[in-house]
Symmetry: C2
Subunit: 225 residues, 2 copies
DNA sequence: GTCAAACATGTAACATGTTAGTTTTGCGGG
DNA sequence: CCCGCAAAACTAACATGTTACATGTTTGAC
């Protein structure tokens, strides 16, 4: 019999709902999260909300001030850079590990991700593109085969997704260039050029950083204007 | 006025006590942690214990099976490797960042750590040596200046400390070689040879991995014998 | 008028009762 | 003797009452 997925606890379900709300931008950055109000809103008691907020604090999406309250995280430009650099480090290392251990598995997984991204561009479906992008990069980590790195990586996903959403109005993602970089990466892997692949990957994430930077600058200008 | 450090909550204090007990080997690997019994033992109610266990799960020191119980983590050889590799990745990256940003600060911090380690060897004080070692490597991360990486790094510390304790009977740490590697690293930094410094660092952590491996093999043989 | 101390209010942390799910055990049938 | 099933004991998850803390406001002294 197939291993069934564990039934999510109420706490986890609560965390999922709050996380989604943050990532989707329904809860603005920095806004206060009263445990009582969240409990009433979600129709549960305070316990699961309390524990869910603790979990989200570990993920970096929520900041908890003891005895005062919880708030949606307020990322600085620096922290966005840190997240991106961190991600680049983990992905580069995983890419190298994957290429040394089982390059074909990696290339297959990357190709699959790239295919769904290409389809998304064709259909002009940004959400699908983002999903494909996530899968592409998750595949690198997955193929690296290091559980500890995978865990750390997963903790960068939520905050970066939230950033992307909240800066979306001013972010103009260059889908074509992004797509091309992914294909370059696959090509480098196929040719066995690990160093070049790592360079491409770092550059790719570097572009993401620069987009966050310009987006946050635009945001700041809009705030002043 | 200097910023005072925040008073730890009961939950955090509870987590600290359980963490220490695991790292010091008072709670054996894989042993069951009943929330009720821990609460009675520590003289607190179940709530802070429950939340503390959730925190320790996030740190990787305990595994929680919903509705069943919590257990001290049971590291496999693979997971020990993963932790070491992960650490090597984070430290290498931080070393590079620190060398590019403010090499002198880094060298000062490393020298300070190395000094206390040398003193510990002179006094034949293994605990002090471990503390100096921790400070040395923490300094690399600190000087890297990336908060996201620092957070991930801190999550590798507890499990690795616990491993070290539990394998201590069979681990014969080569203090002299370890000390020498640290000094080599500082020298490479002073000369500005970033690549060489990263190589030395990776090799140093690689030695740690190999010690875990031989120690766990000895353990296995003892179990059979 | 200014400053500080008492107070009122709102908050999460903690304690504990209740519920629901899991594991173990013991008994009866094969 | 072994297997299956049922019941009991145990466990954590959840709900909620209580407490202690943080913070903003008012008031009284100077």
């Amino acid at each position: 019999m197939e291993r069934l997925e564990p039934i999510p606890s109420l706490m986890e379900a609560t965390a999922d709902r709050i996380r989604s709300a943050i990532i989707l931008g329904e809860l603005p950055l920095g806004s206060k999260l009263s445990e009582q109000k969240l409990a009433d809103m979600l129709g549960v008691s305070r316990s699961p909300v309390h524990n869910a907020l603790a979990l989200l604090q570990y993920e970096g999406l929520v900041e908890v001030l003891p005895k005062v309250g919880s708030f949606v995280f307020t990322p600085s430009v620096k922290s966005a850079f840190d997240l991106c650099d961190h991600r680049a480090v983990l992905e580069s290392a995983s890419l190298q590990m994957a290429m040394e251990a089982n390059p074909n598995t990696l290339i297959d997984a990357l190709s699959k991700g790239a295919a769904s991204m290409a389809l998304a561009i064709k259909n002009n479906d940004p959400a699908a593109y983002t999903a494909g992008d996530l899968a592409f990069h998750a595949a690198i980590i997955e193929c690296g085969g290091n559980k500890s790195i995978a865990r750390a990586y997963s903790h960068t996903v939520g905050p970066l997704m939230a950033l992307r959403t909240h800066l979306f109005t001013t972010m103009n993602t260059h889908l074509d260039r992004s797509m091309e970089e992914h294909l370059d990466l696959i090509q480098a892997c196929k040719e066995g050029h690990i160093d070049h692949a790592m360079t491409v990957l770092s550059a790719h994430i570097g572009h993401l950083v620069r987009e966050y930077q310009t987006a946050s600058q635009s945001d700041a200008e809009q705030s002043r204007g």
